[in-house]
């Protein structure tokens, strides 16, 4: 029972903080998240069942490659199909546990392997926002719009089956309800939609494939930051020494809520360098703040429940039953009671939802898309950017011809990550970081180094163009 405590706490806290890790935090991968996000927005795809069956029984290939095909041909076709839609190896022949690369939204399904990350992400948007995202997803994930050979193949397979009445979210019992509690969604929605609109315009070309890969990568990054954002925001607004005026200045702003210094050189970076040390400390602080935020929200919830009724465990039971159902509710009540939540809710929280697991959840997920590391070993985690993630980040956070400085600012303002010296960084931010760094690093020097590292990497990767005298503009795919 103890093993499931994180998922139980998450279920209890869902209304306050929609994106949180559960016990299976090491399992979700980009394919799972993207799949479940699309499932949450559009619903279950009609092609998922038939395609999953293909991997179980090659006889099912008859409608696609003909009844007369020999065994070798069938196996070769399956291998080929695997390359296209299952290169990440996240589908195992059952529609219930299949997360394919969504070359068509008809492949989306309710695979629980996302441990609710993808589902939670889709739940943070308002109905209007979801409708806009759905519209764009339907364009990008539609193989009918492009004539490239990959889309043509998927279209042909899709055409083999008569698909009717598909992807109707309202008919789907697993469909996701909007929670609309996340401040994070306000920033992320604009970032997502702006880039997805450009992707939808290119959906009639092979760039559609590229877009799908980028979208899958970036959405995983969005979930990773989402794990930290809302809870950090709660932690920030709980600070006792902050007056109302200051609170208005910082509340809900990613740059203030997170403000994480990233290591912008080539990953993984030398652990002894000042910038790596600062980025390690900065991420650690953000994770600790987030965990603290979840704890504050938890304690507040328990306190409120107790204040409504002085019946001890009964008030906790009422709280749990109002939010969690079935066996999970029973297990949660038991877990809370055993952890001594009535005596010390904060300590109980730390037992049931340990900081170390919360931290590992961020690191594991980010590592799967090249956003943080090192994935293995004992080295402290920091945010860095493998080339594949950098490519996605540039696509989502810039337009072709934007200044490099503008890109740095957007990363700071929209995602709360410091990838250089943002023009809007203020003395409070610098003071906070210097207090964090202590004697280990000079923050000003680190920011300048991060700025130049990032610029050079973008230029080297062809994601930015450097003019003479160091003036640098972003080079983003123009479809």
């Amino acid at each position: 029972m103890k093993k499931k405590s994180m998922s139980l706490i998450r279920a209890l806290m869902k209304q306050e903080i929609p994106i949180l890790p559960g016990d299976s935090f090491s399992r979700p991968a980009p394919a799972h998240i993207f799949n479940k996000f699309v499932f949450g927005i559009i619903g279950k795809g009609a092609l998922l069942g038939p395609v999953s069956k293909l991997f179980k029984d090659t006889k099912e290939l008859d409608p696609i490659i003909g009844e007369n095909s020999d065994r070798q041909t069938r196996e070769e076709f399956l291998k080929s199909l695997n390359v296209l839609i299952n290169s990440d190896k996240r589908s195992f022949g059952s529609p219930s546990f299949s997360s394919f690369l969504l070359l068509t939204y008809e492949l989306a399904g309710a695979d629980p392997s996302d441990d609710d990350y993808g589902k939670a992400l889709s739940s943070i948007f308002t109905s209007e926002q979801r409708s806009k995202i759905e519209d764009l997803l339907r364009k990008i994930l539609n193989p009918n719009s492009s004539g490239d050979i990959i889309s043509l193949t998927i279209k042909k397979i899709q055409g083999t089956y008569s698909l009717t009445g598909v992807n109707d979210v309202s008919n789907n019992q697993n469909s996701v309800q909007t929670s609309n509690k996340s401040v994070y969604s306000e920033y992320i929605f604009n970032v997502l939609v702006s880039a997805m609109e450009d992707m939808s315009l290119a959906a009639n070309s092979s760039h559609r494939i590229e877009s799908i890969q980028k979208l899958s990568t970036f959405l995983t990054g969005v979930v990773a930051f989402g794990l930290l954002f809302d809870s950090s925001n709660i932690n920030l607004t709980n600070k006792e020494d902050m007056n109302q005026k200051d609170l208005v200045q910082v509340k809900n702003k990613p740059s203030k809520v997170l403000g994480i210094v990233c290591y912008t050189g080539n990953p993984p970076g030398n652990p002894r360098s000042a910038l790596v040390r600062l980025s390690q400390l900065s991420l650690k602080q953000a994770v600790t703040n987030s965990h603290s935020g979840v704890r504050s929200a938890f304690v507040k919830l328990i306190d409120e429940a107790n204040s409504k009724s002085n019946k001890g465990n009964e008030s906790i039971e009422n709280l749990v039953l109002s939010r969690v159902r079935g066996e999970d509710a029973r297990n949660l009540v038991k877990a809370l009671s055993e952890s001594g939540v009535q005596d010390n809710p904060a300590e109980a929280f730390n037992k049931l939802y340990p900081l170390s697991s919360f931290s590992s959840a961020f690191r594991t997920l980010s590592g799967k898309v090249g956003l943080a590391g090192p994935i293995k070993g004992t080295g402290e985690a920091r945010i860095f950017f493998e080339t594949n993630f950098l490519d996605s980040l540039v696509f989502f956070l810039s337009k072709h011809g934007d200044s490099f400085g503008g890109f740095v600012d957007k990363c700071f303002e929209n995602l709360g990550i410091i990838v250089g010296r943002p023009s809007t960084i203020d003395s409070d931010d610098i003071e906070r970081l210097q207090a964090l760094a202590g004697r280990i690093a000079d923050v000003d020097e680190c920011l300048d180094l991060a700025h130049e590292n990032m610029r050079l990497r973008l230029v080297k990767s062809g994601l930015a163009k450097e003019f003479s005298d160091g003036y640098t503009i972003m080079v983003r795919d123009e479809f």
Binding site: I65, S87, D88, L101, T153, V369, E386, S461
Partner: protein, 541 residues
């Protein structure tokens, strides 16, 4: 030789190497003219055009040779006795516009916008302005230079703007200083004398540094070394300032009194403290030089046993000690490498013109084929080989296969399955170099950047794959199997973007065939082809 000139050259080599401060005599002695495709000198042609009333913008990066070129144009104009009005950056307040003169601005960023605007709008007389690209984009010029920026971008993609009503635009960032000047500079007498003066000032004569420099007096040696350097570095990667730092380090860097002497040019070529040396060492990896037949003789100091050519015998430099007599392992290893490098450079490359045997030779050979001979088929075969994880062979297909991977998640292995977006025949691709001069009909100077592009009337920048030493290095190594091996991630991304772009702009072969490649190991590589028609059917390979 003029002693003061040699002294000034030494001072220049020891300084930050800005040509602004050079005397006209030394500048002229060190200047290597750019030769246009019609064999005329660039500065002569530009001076003639200015004399005929044309305006000139010389753009480029810091240390890119703008000032050096402008000074040469000024010298030419002085020969024609053209009236010049040269702006002194240190006395801008007293600058006056002089009508019917050629106004020269060596650095636009040093000029306030008011003065600059007056110069570009003056009614009579032309101007020569040297500027960084960023300065030209400054809003204060009210878009005057927008056209220049467009011309610069066109040049960078290989187009040749030719509107003679517009200023002549010279893109120095596009000019390759290396292939143009390296051989001349390696054997430049004034520079060698500057190195001798450097030694004399510390009371040394006939040091290993000076004795080794005599090797570069030999034209076979200087040619072989310059070819090796240009083949290694690839196009478009070196500025004049980097080149001068490299030359200065070759001539003055290192120490004579250590074992082996680190002051000799052939040691510094790989071990110098410059970005160029670093790149050369990284590509060629001299520490892995394998000379099975010569190593023993080099180790025992049996130079006779090496059967050296006459030329090498004359030029051979003894390190002062024999490796087998040295006990310290590090010094002994350095000595062996020192001797091997000298042997390969002087005997194999320069004297007997043998094939380079450096580890990175495949990369340099491919560089030679593609950059010097414009052999696009060799590049296409090498790109295909990169994805197929096999060395390219001459009889391989000349069709470019647009392989892409479908992995999103970062796992330990890079994934072995690839699908092709299609394939493009070599006839529909071309290697295009950037250009350096706009709006001067009949006079072309190829730029240093090279792109593999689809043959299109209206080429767009994004559609080209930049061909540089990084690409050659990645291709020669093959696609990494592990994600922890990140060295070529940038190149992998560039190729992927190129393939996506080209699949939408070029005419693809067999648009109805899906090709899948599985390359767990070279010997187990499998390829499957499927015809996507009314039904899906297997095609035999």
């Amino acid at each position: 030789m003029n002693d003061s000139l040699v002294s000034e050259a030494l001072k220049f080599l020891r300084s930050s190497k800005t040509t602004e401060s050079l005397s006209a005599e030394l500048a002229s002695a060190l200047y290597v003219p750019f030769i246009l495709e019609n064999k005329e000198k660039l500065e002569t042609v530009i001076a003639q055009a200015v004399k005929n009333g044309r305006n000139v913008i010389v753009a480029g990066s810091a240390g890119g040779g703008k000032t050096m070129l402008v000074n040469q144009i000024i010298s030419e104009l002085e020969k024609y006795q053209v009236r010049l009005n040269i702006l002194d950056e240190l006395d801008i307040e007293n600058f006056q516009i002089v009508e019917n003169s050629v106004t020269v601005v060596r650095d636009l960023t040093a000029v306030n916008s008011e003065t600059a605007t007056k110069i570009i709008r003056k009614k009579s007389g032309s101007f020569i302005i040297a500027a960084n690209e960023g300065a030209l984009m400054d809003n204060v010029f009210d878009g005057y230079f927008d056209r220049v920026i467009r011309d610069l971008h066109s040049l960078q993609t290989g187009k040749l703007p030719s509107n003679e009503d517009q200023p002549i635009v010279i893109d120095m960032a596009s000019v390759d200083p290396l292939s143009n000047a390296i051989q001349t500079l390696l054997s430049n007498k004034i520079l060698h004398q500057a190195a001798e003066l450097f030694e004399l000032q510390s009371g040394t004569k006939n040091s290993p540094r000076i004795l080794a420099l005599k090797q570069l007096h030999n034209s076979d040696v200087s040619l072989a070394i310059s070819q090796l350097i240009t083949s290694t570095l690839g196009p478009g990667e070196v500025t004049f300032r980097e080149l001068w730092n490299f030359i200065a380090d070759l001539l003055l860097g290192g120490q004579n009194d250590v074992s082996p002497p680190t002051s000799v040019w052939f040691w510094r070529l790989f071990n110098g403290e410059t970005s160029i040396s670093e790149l050369i060492a990284k590509t060629l990896k001299p520490q892995f030089l394998a000379l099975p037949n010569e190593s023993f003789a080099l180790f025992t100091g049996d130079i006779e046993g090496l059967n050296l050519s006459k030329m090498t015998k004359e030029l051979w430099l003894h390190p002062g000690v024999i490796p087998m007599d040295v006990r310290n392992v590090d010094i002994r290893n350095d000595l062996i490498t020192w001797l091997r490098i000298q042997y390969v450079l002087i005997e194999q490359l320069a004297s007997t013109k043998s094939k380079s045997i450096f580890v990175g030779s495949f990369s340099t050979e491919l560089n030679d084929k593609v950059v010097k001979q414009y052999d696009k088929v060799a590049l296409i075969q090498a790109l295909n080989g990169y994805f197929r994880r096999k060395e390219a062979a001459e009889n391989d297909s000349s069709i470019l296969e647009l392989w892409i991977h479908f992995m999103v998640e970062r796992r330990q292995d890079r994934g072995f399955g690839l699908a092709s977006l299609g394939s493009v025949s070599a006839g529909l691709l071309e290697l295009n170099s950037s250009q350096s001069i706009a709006n001067l009909k009949g006079f072309n100077l190829k730029g240093s950047r090279l792109f593999l592009q689809p043959v299109l009337e209206n080429r767009i920048f994004a559609s080209g794959l930049e061909v540089n030493s990084g690409l050659f290095k990645a291709i020669s190594r093959g696609r990494a199997t592990s994600l922890a091996d990140r060295d070529n991630d940038d190149i992998d991304l560039a190729i992927k973007k190129f393939y996506f772009n080209i699949s939408n702009t070029a005419t693809l072969e067999r648009r109805d065939v899906l090709n899948i490649l599985n390359t767990p190991h070279e010997e187990n590589a499998r390829e499957y082809s499927w015809k996507i028609g009314n039904s899906i059917s297997k095609l035999s390979n």
